[in-house]
């Protein structure tokens, strides 16, 4: 078959089984857009800003495990995509970003809409390609998908000059069926000897904790993790990125750990004698001061990325490989040695944890204590959202207090249901990522829990939602301020609220969303809260935006004491710490 470069590119995406392309056209991408027009296998979703395209593709990828695909033009199209690429990179999300480029002979001449996309994106991609000739397109696309979706996953950029997509130049097209990149070989199978050491460490421990993160989700190892704990029955905590990989409603679940982790999760980590770190990377939001991190614990680290292990916390036992394969091996060994495991030895540990939980655990019943004498509490709003959606929804979020409340109070029992920007902390992620999730799962409930600050960073995507009829439920936890920044100013700058208020300039969100053809609900008092949220869920075929005015003075707790604190040093409420 002979094809032109533009058709080759599109045909290659079809060969990869791509369903959706999220993008925005422009000069350098016009030949490609003509090919998109001519085919029926994939749908192009026209966003309103390239950042929206990247987050939508990212949300699609997080929810499905399949790579998200983005198409942008050169220059401003490419630079607008950068924040979304960095977001995906920090959370190891598989994504393919195709950027148009000026014609080959113009590269380096400061041509109209020329920008060095490969250079700009270099530190925030797993890999990138410049297409130098049509005949290499199939191979490059195949390699890009392979790299994005294997090992530690991540975004891959393909920059393609306009002349390479010229419809008049035809070349032989054949899509490769197999791929072998001779310089790329991410580990898959773990070493048996290391796995045996891990099992011995479990047998020897009295206070073990499983600390599982986003890598466990990327590796689709939730079942293996649950199986492991069905044998050993130890406490489990999840990172912000890992929520859902272990059922939040399980008795052994400690909640999230770290900066805004639960008291019992942070205390368990601090006092543990064994930490099984599974697809987690000891981020600074987890460790607090690394020198003071879990002083008595032996560290076992499961990861697919060599460079993640012993980067911040030295591992005593490292298990390199796909987390799924590693856990399968551990499970098969443990199954054989179950009689050696005396589970009663964990009794005191479980008792201790139950005490911590009772002492300072989160109050999940706040929604029961409401009265119109008090402002709406953001935590209670999330609790209502949890109950009204039966705990089964996909929940995307933005960045700030509302995100932490969502993570703390919405209990996720399944992986890939909690979709948020953990590593980069990108405000503006929530709405476009929800679009990607809704396109992937049109029959599932998709919620975006956002703040009035964050939502305005990609609010233009409300228009995309009306075009493609995406009935997402958006809950705007409106505290009239950049709440998380304000909290830090309260705690560290004696309440000097520098640039966190919009004064009286916020839009009336209800009329704003209605102008896009959506439904708006405004809730200002507790007595309307439950009914308002339930009404939003009762409307099935429309996007509903629920603007919930909450107490602007609320803080997120617990909060780790920094600098120089350990995991046991937490603020528990305004003015009181451990």
């Amino acid at each position: 078959m002979k094809l032109a470069g533009n058709d080759m590119l599109i045909q290659s995406l079809i060969n990869e089984g791509v369903e959706y392309i999220f993008g925005y056209p422009g000069g350098a991408a016009l030949h490609i857009y003509d090919s998109i027009f001519k085919q029926k296998e994939m749908q192009h979703i026209l966003v309103r800003h390239e950042q929206g395209a990247t987050h939508a593709a990212d949300g699609y990828a997080r929810a499905t495990g399949k790579p998200g695909v983005v198409m942008v033009t050169s220059g401003p199209g490419a630079t607008n995509a950068i924040t979304g690429i960095a977001t995906a990179f920090m959370d190891s999300i598989p994504m393919i970003v195709i950027s148009g480029q000026v014609q080959s002979h113009l590269i380096g001449t400061d041509a109209f809409q020329e920008t060095d996309m490969i250079g700009i994106s270099r530190p925030i991609v797993k890999h990138s390609f410049t297409v130098d000739h049509q005949k290499n397109i199939p191979q490059i696309v195949k390699e890009a998908f392979h790299i994005a979706t294997s090992g530690r996953q991540g975004p891959v950029v393909i920059d393609i000059p306009k002349d390479i997509t010229n419809p008049d130049d035809l070349f032989d097209y054949e899509y490769p069926s197999e791929i072998n990149i001779r310089s790329y070989n991410p580990p898959i199978e773990p070493e048996l000897s290391q796995a045996e050491r891990v099992v011995n460490a479990i047998m020897d421990s009295k206070k073990p904790v499983i600390y599982a993160g986003g890598g466990t989700i990327s590796s689709n190892a939730s079942d293996e993790l649950r199986e492991l704990n069905s044998y050993i029955d130890v406490p489990v905590t999840n990172t912000l990125m890992g929520l859902g990989v272990y059922p939040a409603t399980d008795e052994r679940f400690l909640g999230m750990l770290g900066m805004h982790g639960t008291y019992q999760a942070n205390m368990a980590m601090h006092n543990a004698d064994l930490i099984l770190a599974i697809g987690a990377r000891f981020d600074d939001r987890i460790t607090n001061t690394p020198e003071k991190f879990a002083p008595k614990a032996k560290i076992v680290h499961f990861d697919v990325d060599h460079s993640s292990v012993s980067k911040i916390i030295e591992a005593d036992i490292a298990v390199f490989g796909q987390v799924k394969n590693s856990l399968q091996l551990i499970n098969s060994i443990i199954k054989e040695r179950l009689d050696e495991l005396d589970k009663d030895k964990f009794d005191n540990w479980h008792k201790q944890i139950a005490e911590w939980k009772k002492l300072h655990g989160l109050n999940h019943q706040m929604y029961k204590e409401e009265s119109d004498a008090n402002p709406i509490l953001p935590q209670a709003a999330v609790q209502h959202i949890y109950h009204a959606s039966h705990g089964k929804a996909f929940v995307t979020s933005d960045v700030g207090q509302h995100q932490m409340f969502a993570a703390q109070y919405y209990h996720f029992d399944e992986p890939r249901k909690w979709i948020n920007s953990g590593g980069l902390g990108t405000m503006g992620f929530g709405l476009p990522s929800a679009m990607g999730v809704k396109l992937a799962y049109p029959d599932e409930e998709v919620i975006c829990i956002t703040g009035e600050g964050s939502i305005q960073m990609c609010i233009q995507e409300l228009s995309t939602c009306s075009q493609y009829k995406l009935p997402i439920k958006i809950f705007n936890i409106n505290n009239l301020s950049l709440g998380m920044v304000k909290q830090w100013q309260d705690m560290n700058y004696e309440g000097r609220h520098s640039s966190i208020s919009y004064e009286d300039s916020l839009p009336d969100f209800k009329s704003l969303v209605e102008s896009y053809g959506h439904i708006g609900i405004k809730i200002t008092k507790n007595s309307d809260l439950k009914a308002g949220i339930e009404k939003a869920f009762a409307i099935k075929d429309k996007l509903v935006f629920v603007d919930i005015y909450v107490d602007p003075n609320e803080h997120v707790y617990p909060m780790l004491v920094a600098p120089n604190g350990s995991l046991k040093d937490m603020w528990l409420s305004k003015g009181s710490k451990t």
Binding site: R122, P123, S183, Y184, P186, H306, S310
Partner: protein
């Protein structure tokens, strides 16, 4: 802190060197000296060809020699970060080598 030498064998492709140099800057390491040349005669690295079951053509692969002054404790991290670059086939310091992602306890390069 002592000066250390790293040797890399990597694909001779446009942009590959920029990834290595960029990585040093991005991770906060300094490059004291840098030498690159395409490998004409691969005899010395025949074991890599055997390992990968492939024959390299002349100039297809480059050798980089980088001198850097870092804390001992960072050396392993630098090696691992370099090893992660997709176009790097092998990288070594005085004591160890990553050969296509697999760690060996000696300097093979």
């Amino acid at each position: 802190m002592i000066e250390r030498q790293l040797t890399l064998i990597m694909e001779n492709k446009p942009g590959a060197l920029a990834r290595v140099v960029g990585l040093f800057h991005q991770r906060g390491y300094n490059i004291d000296s840098l030498h690159v040349d395409p490998i004409e005669d691969f005899t010395r690295y025949k074991f890599i060809e055997d390992e990968l079951n492939i024959k390299f053509a002349s100039h297809e692969v480059s050798r980089l020699i980088i001198k850097t002054t870092v804390e001992d404790s960072l050396m392993r991290q630098i090696l691992r970060q370099i090893n992660k670059l997709i176009e790097v086939i092998a990288v070594s310091d005085d004591e160890s080598t990553y050969l296509k992602g697999i760690l060996r306890d000696e300097n093979l390069l």
